[in-house]
């Protein structure tokens, strides 16, 4: 049963030079997550993704895009900005992980502390945070999600098609393995 009248597919293709990506470009299966750093469900999904990545190894490419719902999560946008600022210094994934491991501590002071932990150029980090240097990109991620049928976080796409099933480890693995097999 389809949950919508139209097929929900990724409208903005994954781009190696734009997206935050783990895994090889020629991986059999690409998993895209639209996530919010303050969303508890994304927090639940975080270790699941780690597990899935460990199990699938090089056959999986994982992509994270921002979908902060600030209406419900007042710190989500700033946390996304911090991750993007870390990305500008080549440390996206370390910040992404720190944020999900410390979801309840996302104040501006906490974000700065994480930047220090990662030994980022603090002056540059602070400047970017003050100037909201990355909000445009975050909004671009967000709107690409809206247009792709993201209806909450986390929402996943497997090889470009929305994964409407649960994201429990075994269910997600199963779906990824099936998609990988289809590609072969």
């Amino acid at each position: 049963m389809s949950t919508t009248q139209w097929e929900a597919v990724l409208t903005m293709p994954v781009a190696e030079d734009r997206d935050h990506i783990q895994g090889p470009p020629d991986a059999a299966v690409t998993l895209v997550q639209y996530g919010d750093y303050e969303c508890p469900y994304c927090g639940e999904a975080y270790p699941i993704i780690k597990e899935v990545q460990a199990r699938l190894g090089e056959s999986l490419r994982f992509v994270f895009r921002n979908f902060p719902i600030t209406t419900s999560h007042p710190h989500a946008e700033r946390a996304a900005e911090a991750a993007e600022s870390a990305a500008a210094q080549g440390r996206f994934w370390e910040m992404h992980d720190l944020l999900y491991e410390n979801q309840k501590r996302l104040s501006d002071e906490a974000l700065r502390a994480y930047a220090e932990t990662l030994e980022l150029d603090i002056e540059l980090f602070e400047k970017e945070m003050a100037e909201h240097a990355h909000t445009e990109r975050i909004h671009e991620d967000f709107m690409s999600g809206v247009r792709s049928g993201v209806n909450g976080t986390p929402t996943f796409y497997i090889n470009g098609v929305r994964h409407d099933d649960s994201y429990e480890t075994e269910v997600l693995l199963d779906a990824l393995e099936r998609a990988a097999a289809e590609e072969r």
Partner: protein
Amino acid sequence: MTDSRVVSQATPLPPGTEAPDFELASTPDQKVSLSEFRGQPVILAFYPEDWSPVCSDQMALYQEVLPEFRKYGAELLGISVDGIWSHLAFAKDRNLHFPLLADFEPKGEVARAYQAYRDKEGTSERALFVIDANGIVRWSYVSPVGVNPGADGILRALENLGKEGTS
């Protein structure tokens, strides 16, 4: 695939139909009528109940996407059978800054007029309507009650209004 339950859904008022006018309370001393928005598109988002998890996520998403809706000059109205005090508390708790209308007395009358009422549950469907500047329904959609329909369908419908040059 999430929802394998057999769900009997209403067929919402179809595109091309004149949108039934209504006047509903949005606060204890304010009423909102559909006709006051003549000249601009209106998004009607019927949802079953304040506070239920899916409704909350859906309304939070719409609040977040509201600036995009506004780019099309569209007004967003949420409607459920909840009373006005529930709506006020819900809007405050969830940071919602668009009108939530109380289809409370007679209960569900507006939802019925839009063919989006669930008799058995006594709530409206999770139904979306995009109404053009002339008060004509241009897009309607009923989502399975447990599924957040997202905002993409609304944006497409608003885009299509522009293309057809009616607004």
